[in-house]
Symmetry: C2
Subunit: 196 residues, 2 copies
């Protein structure tokens, strides 16, 4: 990796961490420069605008999510083994496998739900892609004969996201010791409904 690329990567990593603490709108070239002991003009050489930096932080989060949750699950056999792996990876991501940034998407969802622009557009695209990935895993479980054929896969996908969001609420905000058990029970109940 060339030196310029290394510096750029270091900046994005730091911005990713800061975004988890301050929100993405809180990551300005000013706050970032001071936390990296760089000059604002030095930063500006790497990112032409705050928005370009924000988009790169979002890409970083999407890349990490793909590597941690999606890719390992795609290595599992189609059907329930893959769906189960996807759900397990999702919970582990929400618990915080890659630092505080783990729940960055849900945090950004609140930050950008009424803030139009390219960051919101890319966020929406990534969240739709996640719902589609879940729905596809459900459809494959149907075609493998693990789940029944009359399922609304898109309905199942948004319910899975709801289980993840409630899990985040229970484990991170409420520090509920039963959070894991509750999320598993909700998942099992959903599967049971999709099975019969």
């Amino acid at each position: 990796m060339r030196k310029g690329e290394q510096t750029r990567k270091g900046i994005v990593d730091k911005a990713y961490l800061l975004a988890g603490q301050l929100g993405l709108e809180g990551v300005t070239l000013g706050t970032l420069a001071s936390s990296l002991s760089l000059s604002k003009s030095g930063l500006f050489a790497h990112f032409k605008s705050k928005e370009a930096l924000q988009l790169e932080v979002l890409e970083e989060a999407i890349g990490r999510f793909t590597r941690h949750v999606v890719t390992p699950a795609l290595g599992k056999p189609r059907g329930l083994p893959r769906l189960n792996a996807m759900f397990d990876g999702y919970l582990s991501w929400i618990r915080g496998v890659s630092g505080r940034g783990s729940c960055l998407f849900l945090s950004l969802a609140h930050e950008y739900d009424d803030r139009p622009g390219p960051v919101r557009d890319r966020l929406v695209e990534s969240q739709r892609a996640w719902l589609d990935t879940l729905a596809k895993a459900v459809r494959l479980a149907v075609s493998e004969g693990h789940l029944r054929g009359t399922i609304d896969a898109d309905q199942a996908a948004i319910e899975l996201v709801g289980i993840g969001m409630a899990y985040q609420h229970a484990t991170r905000l409420l520090k509920d010791p039963k959070a894991d058990k509750r999320a598993r029970a909700a998942y099992d109940a959903l599967l049971q409904r999709l099975r019969k």
Copy 2:
């Protein structure tokens, strides 16, 4: 209402709106003073600190939620009519019945999940109270004979919150035209599970 109280109420209302846009940490005496055309020292006469103001904004949100969602449902007969009213009120609150502040709690959950202090404590208390209110409504539906007696009411409560969070994600971020239908279908499926 005395003039001092009126001014104070105007400040809290404005701060409540700003908190929906900027997050509660973004509401400083400075930003608030400039958006109200007041002096910082004038504001300071009403609120001794940023934290005191933040706590009052949170109380305002709790009060609005109680008036909009909890109290009307408590006026319905015990059992499913009350639980249904609670769920309807929750969805309408999330859709945004009282301005952008409607999803303030979920937004604050992300903002404060790793930010210890009195604001986080009060937020956690309010969210636990909401889960307890939902669980109690489920238990009453059991004692009325509307739901079966072997239900884990706390499990049902966190799943209801998950349905609400997924609804917010679908309707506010993704602008999914099917968001309402999906939330209703998830609620109906949960009830069906609790019935048999």
